[in-house]
């Protein structure tokens, strides 16, 4: 009940208000928990992920494994080829969740404005917690010390005037690092920042920027917002602002989800009919469980499906539906699968979420016993 109401932390009428944001991110979280619980793993390349013989994927790996080129989201079988001695451990989600709760509790000691991004990662808006005797750097240090003391794993932290730079900063001295970008250092820091640090700039956009002789954010300063929007659409505006160190996104106590979905990769490729017969009932049941866990602020919108083919190409299809029945999903899947004459390796089902029209936030507020 405590977190039903999405709280907008501050609003501004076109004027950017300077905030102090800390981004905290545990270092190779799942792997760190495994190494903590089994010290014999220290110094050896390990990863947490699915089994290579079942088409598993690496979730996290430690730094010795990264030296071999192992990365998260890589197929476990491929990771083993890069690093034949790699120890791949199965997920122990209950342990990770338990650790996550403790980490989040530590964050909450310093501010209520915590926006979790994943189990081990969050933005903290500490603007109101900072004063003459307690700097943002001191808060970040205390968080890092407490996590080491209570959990035996390390956290990297970045401090900056906005979310974009705080996230870049936490990565700057990883692992077990702390890096601060003060407001007066922003311009100089951003100018030298590679554009690939801007979220959304991947291989394709990176190449298009390179054609424009843009390598660092500083190279983007000669473009105005209109020019960038003409070339990159909506994303141009984001490029324009990020390259100037501007990011007006707020720390939101609750993240707004846009969709919820579940998917299953099969042990062997199969025809779409076989796949529906074998997996669809279970997938819909799993999806239902996920939907049931959502708070009432979400309404359910369109249904969508994802089909991945034997050649790893994938397609999605969505449609407004009155009910989310087996037949409706199966029909969508068959239609999506008909786009490609190939066997299927993965099915996913999901629903888009809509924000439920509820009473405006300010109108209803449950008061807390402990000033929360």
């Amino acid at each position: 009940m405590a977190y039903l109401i999405p709280v907008f932390i501050y609003s501004f009428g076109g004027v950017a208000v300077s905030r102090t944001i800390i981004h905290c991110d545990a270092d190779c979280f799942f792997a760190a928990i495994e190494m903590r619980d089994n010290p014999q793993l220290h110094g050896r390349p390990i990863a947490v992920g699915g089994r290579p013989d079942r088409r598993g994927v690496i979730s996290t790996c430690n730094y010795p494994a990264r030296q071999f080129g192992v990365r998260s989201a890589m197929a476990s079988a491929y990771a083993l080829r890069l690093c034949p001695g790699l120890i791949i451990l199965p997920h122990r989600m209950t342990h990770y969740r338990d650790a996550s709760q403790k980490i989040m509790a530590i964050f909450h000691q310093f501010t209520d404005l915590v926006e979790p991004l994943s189990l081990d990662e969050a933005f903290l808006d500490v603007t109101d917690a900072v004063n003459d005797s307690n700097s943002a750097r001191a808060i970040a240090e205390q968080i890092r010390e407490q996590v080491v003391a209570q959990l035996g794993i390390t956290v990297s932290a970045g401090i900056a005037p906005n979310k974009f730079l705080a996230k870049v900063a936490s990565d700057w001295r990883k692992p077990d690092g702390l890096f601060e970008i003060k407001p007066e250092q922003v311009a100089e820091f951003v100018a030298r920042l590679p554009v690939s640090c801007i979220p959304g700039v991947g291989k394709v956009t990176g190449e298009r920027l390179a054609q424009l002789q843009v390598k660092n954010c500083g190279d983007l300063l000669r473009f105005d917002e209109r020019e960038l929007c003409e070339r990159f659409g909506q994303f141009g505006s984001r490029l324009y602002h990020c390259s100037r160190g501007i990011d007006s996104r707020l720390v939101r106590v609750e993240r707004q989800r846009k969709s919820v979905s579940v998917e299953q990769t099969f042990a062997q490729d199969m025809t779409v009919d076989e796949a529906c017969e074998t997996y669809l009932t279970e997938l819909i049941a799993r999806l239902q469980v996920r939907i049931d866990k959502l708070t009432d602020q979400y309404g359910v919108g369109k249904a969508f499906v994802k089909v991945k083919f034997a050649d790893f190409s994938s397609t999605t299809l969505e449609r407004a539906n009155d009910e989310f029945s087996y037949c409706n999903f199966a029909e969508l899947i068959r239609e999506a699968a008909s786009r490609h004459d190939s066997r299927v390796r993965l099915l996913g089902v999901g629903v888009r979420l809509t924000e439920q029209a509820a009473a405006p936030v300010a109108e209803v507020e449950q008061l807390g016993l402990f000033g929360g």
Partner: protein
């Protein structure tokens, strides 16, 4: 191991013990129950590494001693589905357990008893005895207010506070709080606090009967153990600091209302139907001799209930989550509820109107 036990004697302890066994386990042996036979005493143990329950059954005749683990869920399902008056024979042979009853035979897989973990508790800090029904009452009166999956993990449990001759329990989810205090014979110079995890509290309450039989309670730095004739319950404690509950007990509320518990409960549950499904807010309008409860929802529907109450003083309008009020009206067992209010931003105190009431409930209002 070899033994004969009646279904009637086995089923209840087996169900209670296997209640702690989680369906999805990381360690295979944790989905099993441990069976240990010593003479004519059979003990059954289930654990999830946080909570452990041992149940004891006295057999009519001694069997062949031994210890082994079998899959909990399947064992319970088999025993439950046998006829009421069945006798059950268990024989361990070649890494299997053979279960025979009448003309039914089952062969269950096993894992060695030596693989079965036990919850280690440390040296005891405090030990005392009290009647089972006291423990049961303390939990039943307050458990509903525990948080579920709150990031403030210390709220996902129940505070036990032991003082000289007194056991007090407190549960809160940060919006409302329940507290119950009972006199028990305990000798301690200090005040000792322990937070029991939510799951442990709920399991313990199932083990306790409404009887005068004594249980021994042991508190150590990290564990609590409650031992009755038939069961031993051990749970890890939650490592954390419980909020200072005394600080939030309302003082100085000047508006004291007495109302019929049944009438209030019914009025709350009827108005709840048309409250906002998300916030569950209802408005209470208090005037001389009368309480009006109003609920609205986003569809512009409205519910209104008027009750006669014993009150005289200034009028007040205050909003609450109706579920919190209903929860309290459900556990209080007096005919009348005493509600103490002060203003629209301060908490309400709900209690039984008698001098020797043992429970207090605090509910924070909603701004509607």
């Amino acid at each position: 191991m070899k033994l004969v036990v009646s279904r009637e004697a086995l089923l209840k302890p087996l169900q209670l013990v296997s209640g702690v066994v989680e369906r999805r386990q990381t360690l295979p042996v944790l989905s099993n129950v441990l069976l240990v036979l010593e003479g004519s005493r059979l003990s059954l143990t289930g654990t999830d590494l946080e909570v452990e329950i041992v149940g004891r059954v006295e057999l009519e005749s001694p069997g062949v001693d031994g210890e082994i683990t079998v899959p909990a869920r399947k064992f319970v399902d088999i025993v439950r589905s046998l006829p009421d008056d069945a006798d059950i024979e268990l024989v361990e042979e070649e890494g299997r357990v053979l279960l025979k009853s009448g003309r039914s035979r089952f062969t269950l897989s096993t894992l060695p008893a030596t693989d079965f973990p036990n919850v280690e508790d440390g040296p005891s800090d405090l030990q005392f005895s009290c009647q089972q029904r006291e423990v049961k009452r303390l939990i039943e009166r307050t458990a509903f207010a525990m948080a579920q999956q709150d990031v403030r993990y210390y709220l996902n449990g129940m505070l036990w506070e032991v003082k000289q001759d007194q056991l007090r329990v407190v549960a809160t989810d940060g919006h409302r709080m329940a507290m119950c205090t009972r006199a028990v014979g305990v000798n301690t110079a200090d005040t000792i606090q322990a937070i029991l995890p939510r799951k442990g509290v709920l399991e313990l309450s199932r083990l306790m009967g409404d009887v005068e039989d004594l249980v021994d309670i042991t508190l150590s730095a990290n564990h609590v153990r409650v031992t009755s004739e038939d069961y031993t319950f051990t749970s890890k404690l939650v490592d954390g600091k419980f909020p200072d509950y005394e600080r939030v007990l309302p003082r100085g509320g000047d508006k004291i209302v007495f109302g019929s518990r049944t009438e209030l409960k019914q009025a709350f549950s009827r108005t709840a139907i048309l409250s906002n499904e998300k916030y569950r807010g209802v408005r209470l309008l208090l005037e001389d001799g009368q309480l009006t409860i109003v609920a609205n929802n986003p569809e512009q529907e409205e519910a209104e209930e008027q009750l006669t109450v014993d009150y005289s003083g200034n009028s007040l309008e205050v909003g609450f989550n109706v579920s919190y009020l209903t929860d309290v009206a459900n556990v209080i067992d007096s005919d009348t509820i005493k509600i103490t209010l002060s203003d629209a931003n301060s908490s309400a105190l709900l209690e039984e109107p008698v001098d020797d009431g043992d429970s207090l409930y605090v509910v924070m209002p909603m701004r509607l």
